[in-house]
């Protein structure tokens, strides 16, 4: 199908179907059924099997009329991609549509207190007892667990197998007595994540994804989609300020989804605020400050242009160059530098926090949030390992834990 043909067809469909006075779920149900919500998906499952390159064409047509797309907040897209790749038809039937409409919310139960960077070191256990899986353990860094209907669960089902082979992957019902969710407060005062305690939580046998022992493969599908979504250029979803029932509902959906992550722009260092604040405070007249601001802006611009270079190469269908793997590490260097420059510009005021503090408390929030950036989603050290091993083809660290039964691997009892 040519670009023009797609454009004509999607425009036609929108002309006939789009209505901003519909309810959000109603519209998205209609949209999902049409195949235009996720046009690259299989025809059998809400898609049209169009190539990636057609996505911008479809999106453009939606933008022309202000039509809203399928739900995208949270980790639902990772859940969908994983189920699409590895799930049974029953699972696809049960979950995919409600993911697209936004009716169900999902969370990811991978990280544990004892295994942060080392996801495959999970020790949460799932034992098959009677006719169901019984899950015990603790998960952490779970976003939205308190709201989620379903969880993507990685658990160990075989302790005699080697580390990566004893894992299985489940979809778990989060609304059950065996699951307790507690907020995890951060050093910046926010609580964006949860700890999830699983005590004899139940998973019916049909809710395993792929087969027993194949959990690491499935996990990698999820993680791959997570990494793809993070090229550092994506902003936070904003919603439209147009009038109409559906826009109101979408704004609410976004606001609820973003609430725990209000501080995310601060953790990146708010480079955008640096020059205006330096001018506003008069610090810009200090040549020493100018040097520091310049160093920061140079790094930030270089990082941004590097990401754009990577994206441009991708859009041209070129093989990915090294520039595509650097975004996360660069962002971390930029964020740290930004926190220092903000401190320097702000002077004594940097001692204060709260609404009366400089920039309404944002400077304090930046200083106390920035440390997250070099840790969350893979520490700087892990990023450097990945760059060295995958991009530069340097030797991998000799593994000391992958070739023996996992029960013999030294590990922390609890984080």
């Amino acid at each position: 199908m040519s670009e023009d043909a797609v454009r004509v067809e999607v425009r036609g469909w929108l002309a006939a179907n789009w209505d901003p006075e519909l309810g959000l779920v109603e519209w998205r149900t209609r949209l999902a059924r049409s195949g235009w919500g996720v046009p690259t998906w299989p025809k059998q499952w809400y898609g049209r099997e169009l190539p990636e390159a057609m996505v911008p064409v479809v999106e453009e047509a939606f933008d022309e009329v202000g039509a809203i797309g399928v739900a995208k907040t949270g980790i639902r897209t990772l859940a969908a991609a994983t189920i699409l790749a590895h799930g049974t038809d029953m699972q696809k039937e049960k979950f995919l549509l409600r993911i697209l409409t936004g009716e169900d919310t999902w969370c990811q139960l991978f990280s544990e207190p004892g295994s942060g960077s080392d996801v495959a070191g999970a020790v949460t256990r799932a034992d098959f007892r009677g006719n169901q899986w019984v899950v015990n353990g603790q998960k952490v860094w779970t976003t939205s667990a308190h709201k989620a209907h379903w969880g993507l669960l990685l658990a160990r089902t075989n302790w005699d197998a080697a580390k990566h082979r004893g894992l299985s992957y489940f979809v778990i019902d989060m609304k059950q007595p065996g699951i307790a969710v507690h907020p995890l407060r951060q050093m910046n005062g926010f609580a964006s994540f949860n700890q999830v305690f699983l005590t004899d939580a139940i998973v019916p046998p049909e809710m395993i994804v792929s087969t027993e022992g194949d959990g690491w493969t499935v996990t990698n599908t999820t993680l791959m989609h997570e990494r793809r979504g993070a090229d550092g250029l994506r902003g936070q979803p904003k919603g439209s300020d147009r009038p109409g029932r559906i826009y109101t509902e979408e704004r609410e959906e976004i606001a609820v989804a973003l609430e725990p992550y209000r501080w995310y722009p601060s953790r990146a260092g708010r480079v955008d605020m640096v020059l205006p604040r330096a001018i506003e405070t008069g610090a810009i007249d200090d040549p020493v400050v100018r040097q520091e601001v310049a160093k920061l802006l140079i790094m930030a611009r270089c990082a941004e242009w590097t990401a754009r270079r990577a994206r441009a190469a991708k859009e041209q269908g070129r093989p990915q160059g090294p520039e595509g793997s650097l975004g996360k590490l660069a962002a971390s260097v930029v964020a740290r530098a930004a926190a220092r420059v903000h401190t320097q510009i702000t002077g004594a005021g940097a001692l204060l926090s709260g609404p009366d503090a400089p920039a309404g408390g944002l400077v304090a929030e930046i200083m106390l949030s920035v440390p997250a950036v070099s840790i969350a989603g893979g520490t700087d050290e892990i990023q450097r390992n990945i760059i060295a091993e995958r991009v530069l083809k340097m030797p991998r660290e000799a593994s000391e834990d992958t070739k023996r039964p996992f029960r013999d691997v030294p590990r922390n009892t609890v984080g």
Binding site: V140, S353, L368, N412
Partner: protein, 372 residues
Amino acid sequence: MKFSFSGEQEAFRESLRGYLAERSSTREVRRLMETEAGWTREAWARMNAEMGLAAVRIPEAYGGQGFGFSEQCIVLEEMGRVLLCAPYFSSAVLAAGAILQVGTEAQKAALLPGIASGEVVATLAWVEDGGGWEAEATALSAMFDGDGWRLSGHKSFVLDGHTADLIVVLARGAKGLSLFTVAGAAVERRLLPGIDPTRKLARLVFDGVAAELLGEEGGAAEPFGRVMAEAAVCLANEMVGGAERLREDALAYALMRMQFGRSIAGFQSMKHKQADMLMEVELAKSAAYFAAAALDEGDSDVAATASLAKAAASEAYLQTAIHAVQIHGGIGFTWDNDTHLWFKRAKASEVMLGDAHLHRERMMQAMVEGVR
């Protein structure tokens, strides 16, 4: 110049370390930091009764123990290690330092014994809303109205300003800068929410408040510079104490933590980071110790040395704190883990009394003046 501590000093440090470890657990720190005052009279009184901490550098003639900066800096280093929540820096360093520098004999005799015993908690108020750490930025005005002195204006970033009994205030009058004392209760004061909850700051409003002139009228600018240099050295020592504690905790964590089936302390990047941290902290300690000894020995270029020590401590403490959070990984970013308590102190101490840029500039001015 002395480059090592004496046996007595080492013994003092050791006993103090044990004492403070018991009295200032992070549990206690967390309890106090959630209070508005940030410290309690009972604990502070007990600490002074048992260890005489506030008295260390106050001369015996005024009820003190008569030790030097080296000993006071041991106290500060150990307090910095445990993030002690007590009005030591405000009262025994800043206020006592100012009174010792400019007070008349009678004023010292009247004011210092209370500070030495800990019964009186004093502080020094000099910075204002503009945030300038230099004395010249002072706008708060002092007027003599026949009856006595009256102060009008405000002060901000005042350490323990909302709880102090006695406030030493830098003010501008007809003859220039002078220091005054004011009763804490006579001032309108408000706690300022801060990034470091273990050390409270306040904003004070002076609405024609009655004040006593401390020392001579108009002569405060120069001795105040000395007070600031001393305070910088004291803070630097407190900071390296915190930095060393963070470094040790991060090392202990790395040695204990297993990932990928092995201790993360075995990863070369972790080893190199820890080696760098050790170097940074030890280098900053050397400067802090040297500066304290220089104060005791009456070195002529104390201004440069004090600023050097503060700048070195600022970089080392902050860098150590950043590394420490990073080494702890996700857990280091949580509220329940203790690392952030020191991280916040590091960040606040970096700014307090002027940041590293300011002190490097001061140091260079003093050095270039010395050479030219």
